[in-house]
Structures are given as C-alpha cells and as structure tokens.
C-alpha cells in the first residue's frame, strides 16, 4: 500500500526530458552491445574449438599424458589403445590420426596450414555422415575430404566439386585429390581441415611410425557407464597415456585456449571495456543530473526526506536506464551476431544465460555508478535552498 502510493519520482524525472532519456538509453545500450559483441565472439570462438571434438565417434578418448589440445598432436603407441578392448563394456576402439600439413592453393600456389585427420574407414573415429557416403571414394589412394568452412584462401575447392570435378592439389609433394566436402568449421589450430583414410594419412606423413597414433577413440556398449570403464582403464594403462571423457576433452580444449594463449585475456578485457564504458556513461548522466537538480534535492531534504530517499531516486534512475537499454541492445546484438555469422562463419548465437549475465552485470555496474554519482547529494546541506 505505502509503496504503490509513492509518486514515481525517479521515472517522472527521467521521462520529463525524453530526448535526454533516449540519449542515455542509447549510451547504455551501446555499452551493452559492446559486451555482447565480446561475449558472442569469444563464446563462438571457444565453441568452434569444440566442434571437431563433438564429432568424435565414441564415449571415451585416450590421449598422451602431455596432451594439450587437438592442434598439437603427440604420438602414443596404438598398442595402448588396443589394450582397452580387454575391458568389459568396451565395444570397439578406433584411432584418430592427426597431423599438421601444408596445403597448396592451386590457383595462387600459396601455402596454408591444414589439420589433417586420418580415420579408419571401417569404423571412422568421427561421426560425419560423409565418411559413409564417400567411403568408396576415400579408399582410392591420395583421395581426401575438404572442410567447406575452411578459409577462402584455400582455393575454389567447394566450387570445383560443385561443378562435378575433383580438386587436385598436392600435400608434402604427394598428389592429393579432394573427392568430397564436410563441415567442422575453423579452429585456432588451422585454416583448413582435411580428412583422409588412415592408409592415405601414412602416405602424406611417411615419417610417422606405423604403430603410433595421436588420439584413440573408445566406443562403449549401450548402457555402459563411461566413468566406470575409465576407472578400470586407469588401473592398468601405462602412465604415459590418459583416458578422458568427451566432456573432459572439450574442457581441456577450451581451457587451453583460455589459459595458455592471450585469447582469454583479450576477451575478458573487451568485456571489461564495455562495462567500463557503460559505467562511465551512466555516471556521467546521473552526475550531471544531480548537479542540475541540486536545488530540488535540497528542497526534498528540507521537506524531511532523508538521504536514503534522494540517493534511492538516483539509484532507481540507474536501474531504469539499465532496464530500458537492455531489450533494444539484445535486439541489436542479435543483428550484430547475424552479421558475424555471415562474415566469419563462426557460430555466434544469443543464449538466455548470456543475456541474463549481461543484464545482471549492467544492473550492478549502473547501480554502482548511480550510487557513486550521489556523493554530492549525501553531502548536500538542505539549508542551501534558502
């Protein structure tokens, strides 16, 4: 009762000057979009790192102890993976060969870094359906599949294939023929992704020992607990290898890019800058607002309103600004994400949790700068009205 009977002073004061209110909303909204942009970009970049791992055709993976990320393949003996077959609940195992190779654009003769995956055609370590449909083509020597999301500099591979022609190039001096496309998307590790059969993988990387693999995929029988099998494996495997769930492998990958590279810092700084811009804008608006209306606030104090009341007006104004700016900035950010998706091929999407986080941050930042802007008000002497 007593709450609803209050005059909404904060709102009336803000809406009294609509152009000023609009400018304030635009300012806070701009800061929000900045934060959304940074979060969208970093989220998408981390998500992109996860894509190849999400396509792994199994429930557990075996990697060398020193494994850090997918783009830095390390060798381990295939025999270790085969030992996993002896564990109850394991249906099959299959290797994933990973190697870094140079790709040559046939038009420009430019070299590009490519990540080459080798899979067993009988039981591919990746779930991509194209490995089934193009199975016979992949059995030919020198044939491989090309990621259609690779950088444009790789050459007109997709166009050539769309025209019904294979794309011919060379890898490590060996003839290479693209016979099909798949889509994993780009990672920080390479500009181009390629998949070939395990046999062809050996031809392109002849220095590799035939008994070495880079990642082992363990496929479980239906209904078998992955953590139980993982535990059993850990009891007898050599300490040079480790077994991870797919989720653990995903977490490793993201953690690697966040911690061992500058990406985490750069994106966090970007978010911080966005929040700082928002805070400065709100502080600036409310501070000048306090200054312009000092006489009115002194009058309120003279009338018997306490410090808490006048400070609450300013804090309410900051919360109103944060709230009004929020929905337009979500819409703007979604538009911006569309542009990013089209221009970079990254999976930039708006999620409810991200929106909630940004709104929460905006509220806290706006409220805090609103409170800071009231320093003058709290010191204001009501006797100044006379």
């Amino acid at each position: 009762m007593s709450w609803t009977s209050r005059t909404p002073v904060a709102w009336l004061q803000l809406s009294h000057k609509p152009m000023r209110l609009l400018a304030a909303i635009a300012g806070v909204g701009f800061a929000n979009v900045l934060v959304f942009f940074q979060m969208g970009l970093s989220g998408a970049l981390y998500d992109s790192q996860k894509r190849p791992i999400q396509e792994i055709n199994g429930q557990l993976v075996m990697v060398p102890r020193r494994y850090s990320n997918l783009g830095e393949p390390l060798n381990m003996p295939r025999a270790q993976l085969v030992r996993a077959l002896g564990v109850d609940g394991v249906q099959a195992v299959t290797p994933l060969y990973i190697g870094n190779v140079d790709w040559i654009n046939q038009d420009t003769r430019q070299k590009k870094q490519a990540l080459l995956f080798g899979v067993s055609l009988d039981n591919p370590a990746l779930k991509l359906p194209v490995l089934q449909t193009q199975r016979s083509a992949l059995q030919r020597p020198n044939s491989l599949l090309f990621d259609s999301a690779s950088k444009k500099g790789a050459g007109p591979v997709a166009q050539t294939l769309a025209a019904g022609q294979p794309y011919d190039t060379e890898i490590r001096g060996q003839r290479a023929q693209v016979v099909g496309l798949f889509q994993l998307g780009l990672t920080f590790a390479a500009d181009i992704n390629l998949i070939t059969s395990s046999t062809n993988f050996q031809t392109y990387l002849p220095e590799q020992n035939n008994d070495d693999i880079q990642l082992g995929v363990i496929q479980l029988k239906p209904g078998v607990s992955a953590s139980r099998v993982k535990q059993t494996l850990e009891t007898f495997l050599e300490p040079s290898v480790q077994v991870l769930t797919i989720q653990q492998l995903l977490d490793r990958e993201v953690a690697h890019w966040q911690r061992n590279t500058s990406f985490g810092l750069i994106f966090n700084l970007g978010v911080l800058v966005g929040l700082a811009v928002g805070a400065i804008i709100v502080y600036q608006i409310l501070y000048s607002d306090v200054g312009d209306h000092l006489g009115e606030y002194a009058t309120m104090k003279a009338m018997g309103y306490g410090d808490r009341f006048v400070v609450a007006i300013i804090v309410q104004e900051s919360v109103i600004l944060a709230s009004l700016a929020f929905f337009p900035s979500v819409l703007m950010a979604m538009g911006l994400y569309q542009i990013l998706v089209r221009s970079t091929g990254l999976l930039v999407t708006m999620s409810i949790s991200r929106a909630v986080v940004v709104f929460g941050l905006t509220l806290v930042i706006c409220g805090a700068s609103g409170w800071l802007a009231t320093g003058k008000l709290r010191r204001l002497d009501p006797a100044e009205v006379f």
Binding site: M1, L12, V385, F386
Partner: protein
Amino acid sequence: MEATTPVQISGLNHWFDEAGERKQVLRDIQLEVKAGEIVILTGPSGSGKTTLLTMVGGLRAAQDGSLRLFGEELRGAPKQQLTRLRRQVGFIFQAHNLMPYLSALQNVRLGLEVSSTWRGQGRRAMDERCREGLEQVGLGHRLHFMPAKLSGGQKQRVAIARALASSPSLLLADEPTAALDKESGRDVVALFRDLADRRGAAIVMVTHDNKVLDIADRIVHLQAGALANSEMKTR
C-alpha cells in the same frame, strides 16, 4: 495536558566560517513561538533572518545556546533527528522550488508523502487532500499543469499548497507573498491565519510586505544578528 511550545530559543549564537574567519550571524537570541501564534520576522538583508529561519526549521543544527523544536533540543542534533523533525515543519521558500518534472498535484503530493501516516492512507486520499489544497490557493483548475506552464504567482501558490497540505505544526515562510498580487497575497495569509487558529500551528514568516503585516500576533525585528525589539500586537 498543555501542548509543548513549538519553538523555544534561548541564548542562541551562531557563527559562519567565511574565508577562514569566524563571523557571528546570530547573537543571544531569545524567542518563543507558541502554538497558534503568527510571528513576523523583519530586518535588513544580512541581518540573519534566513539563518534563524533555517535553524528553526531544523535545516541546521544549533552550535551554541538552546533551540528546542517541539521540545527536542537541536544543539548538536544528528542529521537523522533533524530530518525527522522537519517532517512536522512546512517550508515556503523565497523561490518556489517546485520539481519541474512533477505536475502541480504531484508536487503537493510529494509534501504529503514524506509522512508515513499519509502514505498509509493511500494515493486516493492524498490526491483528494492535494486537490483541496490547490483549490484553497485558487488553482483548482490547474491541478495537472506542469510548473513550466504556470505563472510565477501560480508556482508560488503551488509551493504554498505543498507546505500546507500536511497541516504542519510549524510553518516557516520566507517572503511567501513576494511573487503574488495584492489579492492572492491576502488570500494566502488568510490561509495561514486559518492554519494557526484552527490547527494550532505556529507560524514564523519573514516578510517586508506591508499589506500582510496585520495578520501577525507579534513582529520581531532582527538587527545585525540580534533581536532588536519585540512588538506585541493586538488583533
């Protein structure tokens, strides 16, 4: 039970710090304002009228001597106590000091909402009281006007309605009729008289307006920070 005397001042001294110098603005003031009494305060500018008025209204804590408002000592009083006491005081400032973003009615309502009793009665009861108050100052037809759309005299009358709305026990007015024409000036002081007579409010008014001096029970003159004489009037 005898009601406490709203204003009791004795031996009140007050100093301002001006450019490092301590300047005395009030000297040994003795003044009592009883319930139902109207006191007019006169004096040349710089004589300390406004300072005295702000102290009586609880806008400043007293430094020396004794100043009792509704029986409560204000010497060295904390901020919260002053804020609370001010809720029983109606102020009319020389400048109208209306909130430009509130309509006439909302401005008056802001004067009511400071009291939790009024808030408890709800928006409708408050609006009714505000409408009545604005009608009393002849602004029944301007309830929802914004201050920018009102003339100087009308704004001053809204400010008067705001101060009177909650029927304060003490009304302090600084040149309340300066912006008003003769007729509305008379109407306003008639309202003051009514508040004093019927509600037993104490009223202290700073004015030089000869047209309204006759409503005072007493006229006190302030000269260089000291009360020069106290003239009792017979009404």
